[in-house]
Symmetry: C2
């Protein structure tokens, strides 16, 4: 039995054991397979053959995604005194997208094949030949808007058109005056939002990396124009540190500055937080200096002045915006890829997800050594008391070794085994996932013990 | 100074003070006004004139809505050993809506006026006259589908049609086999989901009560058919108790059984949890016995057997489904209406939101008696330590009396005042919202003190 203090989950690390290295497609395949097998991610409506690049999050994925968002909210809203949240509608007034530039410029160039009538992204046909029939007879490229369109109300005409938001950011811009007035804020301060966004991507793919429907975690941080550079740097540092704190090793992450040619229409400078995916470095989060592009555009289009008036200096200015915009599902995928490991325990191979305890679907599992009473009742009681604090699994089937493996595979940091002796001594065995070390503790000390361990990570 | 034990927030109660009674339209107007003034709810994209019956949740509303969903999740997922969550896509395979019956039957009857070309809901024109021009020359009613339609991919044809989900329930049905297999569950057990849904209502209204985009909290609880009646009763009791536990007085709530004529196409019996709105009793939640309608429909349409095979009895059956389906935004509105109160403090009128501490946007606020250092630094330090546990506001403007009123008005259960004496004695004053009573406590005892109070409510 180990010293309790030693039972802290270690950080995820790339390929500590026999697992394929980070970036190895075999590692990606292993994770995708695990996601399906253990209920993290399912193809959406699979019984109907699914629908391309659309996924439903199963019990473990739903809980993990929730934990990713909660960790972001903690760091970006609750723990800060300079950020407030909002929760805006997905279907809003289309004038928002006209003013933001999305109607005019949020497009991909498409061509039609005149021979077989298939449609393609022009920038993905470098040799100008239809991939379907080989014809060179293609139309000129024309812009295809990536916003999903629908009609609101009973009449399907132009006046009824609305779009599914392609980002949550505009909700923060158009509500700025209401937020500033009701919350009495002044720059530098931020508005945060977590929510779904939709882009009618022509080529979605790479599992949950690029999907048409996705979940964003966005902060719009409003600053005096002269401070934009400094705040951009600040947020790059903060955000990189967030991924590392939650267990992604530094060597799997990097900051990359956009080339001028790849900048979005609103951005003066963008730095991506990137992760080593099997197909190369891929964006987890973009941290953009949106300047006053959006606020200027909305001021002009709406006729409402969005300037901030600084009473101290008597100055009136449009704030600049620094925007750390992260993808929740991509981030979840990065945690899974970074945490995946294969090693040996007692001479047997095992798969283990070395997830940070705050990100793991379950923080703890209770495993009764038998289904019989009164042992089962005692174990359920223990699970009930742990559920007041954390997500707690309960598993009473098959051998204890197999149950440990099942919990290792879904990343549960601690297992609590209730055995026949527990009925006598009121104690249970706690096993830590990464080291597999065990300690025996009084049952009433369990909550405090786990709380301490979770706080120290 | 009061005894600390007495400083517990009282339950919300209808019109304890001078506020208009529950159900009084003046009370409704006061709450809607408060929502706008203090940043709970804004008309969506208000700088563009909004868009009918669409709302954005401001900082306080976003946090309160989050708390409502968190309270539901705690009760319906985390604290139970028989429920697992999922998080399904909003845009899924349209075959789901064909099989569920939504394509054929989720409709309102519409008529066009041949004179002025306006379009109306037939069931809302009892005298057969166009409300716009008074003409009797109306078309026959034809069914109008309430699902929002869009196109996925670059071609707008029938093969590319998709719908925004009008309920989250179908996500649970089509994922049933995947969930049962990966989580090794058997009836009775449930799948829970919180998420946006969309209905192209012809007549939305009553503030956030009926909106085209809304947030649902749904549980699909799968049971052996013979146990459906008993479980339906169980969930009616559980759900009613949930609203009461969170502070809505019993006399503002009721259970109402649907008449046979008002039952949805899938339901054998539905009981609504209703709340006294100013326009009468209105639904917060429907608890339906959906029978095996959905699973049978999806089995037939997909060719995938959705029966459960009970190894013990050798029986194979389609489970029945009991569905408690609640609206998060309606529920938030009910908490606001129930909690709203006006009373007198020290001879001055005040507005106070008697919200349950778990539902209030902020659990605590820190109010430094001065903006000067070192007092401000000490107060910020106190706020920082409270933020580790709760949402904590910080307000250092105007008189302490006005600051108390501001926190009362947004429902903050406790205010912590840091004064010059705090720098000497390391203590602060805690004031409780409902009683306005105050106690002085050591600063290091604050977290424990508040934790205890929140746990006892």
């Amino acid at each position: 039995m180990a010293d309790p203090a030693s039972l802290e989950p270690s950080s995820p690390r790339p390929a500590a054991g026999a697992a394929p290295a980070a970036g190895d497609p075999a590692r990606f395949d292993a994770v995708v397979n695990l996601c399906k097998r253990r209920g993290f991610v399912f193809p959406s409506a699979e019984i109907y053959g699914g629908i391309r690049s659309t996924y439903d999050y199963g019990p473990l994925g739903a809980q993990m995604l929730r934990n990713v968002k909660e960790a972001w909210w903690q760091a970006m809203v609750q723990q800060r005194d300079d950020v407030v949240p909002i929760d805006a509608a997905i279907l809003t007034n289309p004038k928002v997208w006209e003013a933001s530039g999305h109607l005019a410029t949020f497009t991909d160039p498409l061509v039609d094949c005149r021979n077989c009538h298939e449609r393609w992204r022009a920038d993905q046909l470098p040799d100008g030949t239809c991939p379907n029939c080989g014809s060179h007879d293609l139309t000129e490229a024309r812009p295809f808007n990536l916003m999903f369109k629908t009609f609101v109300g009973p009449v399907e005409d132009e006046a009824a058109v609305a779009y599914l938001r392609p980002e949550t950011a505009q909700g923060m811009f158009v509500n700025l005056v209401n937020v500033v007035t009701t919350m009495r804020r002044r720059p530098p301060f931020g508005i945060a939002q977590i929510g779904r966004a939709f882009r009618n991507e022509i080529t979605p793919g790479n599992f949950v990396f690029r999907t048409r429907e996705f979940e964003m975690m966005e902060l719009e941080f409003f600053v005096p124009p002269g401070e934009a550079g400094r705040w951009h740097e600040y947020w790059c540092g903060e955000r990189l540190a967030w991924y590392r704190r939650l267990g992604i090793p530094g060597e799997l992450l990097r900051l990359r500055q956009h080339e001028p040619a790849e900048l979005s229409h609103y951005s003066a400078a963008t730095t991506d937080v990137e992760f080593v995916f099997p197909w190369g470095w891929g964006e987890l989060e973009g941290i953009a200096n949106r300047t006053d592009y959006d606020l200027r555009a909305h001021s002009e289009a709406s006729g409402v002045r969005l300037e901030y008036f600084d009473q101290a200096s008597g100055e009136r200015y449009l704030p600049y915006v620094i925007e750390p915009a992260a993808g929740a599902t991509r981030t979840m995928m990065a945690f899974l890829l970074a945490g995946y490991d294969e090693d040996e325990v007692g001479g047997e191979p095992r798969v283990v997800l070395r997830l940070h305890p705050r990100i793991a679907p379950f923080q703890v599992a209770v495993l009764p050594l038998s289904k019989k009473e009164p042992l089962a009742a005692r174990a359920r009681e223990v699970a009930g008391s742990l559920r007041r604090h954390w997500m707690c699994d309960y598993d009473d089937t098959q051998s204890i070794g197999r149950r440990y493996r099942r919990q290792d595979e879904i990343g549960t940091p601690y297992c609590v085994t209730v055995d026949f002796e527990s009925l006598e001594d009121g104690a249970a065995t706690v096993r830590e996932r990464d080291s597999t070390e065990q300690v025996r503790l009084p049952i009433e000390a369990l909550v405090g013990y786990l709380e301490e361990r979770f706080e120290s990570t």
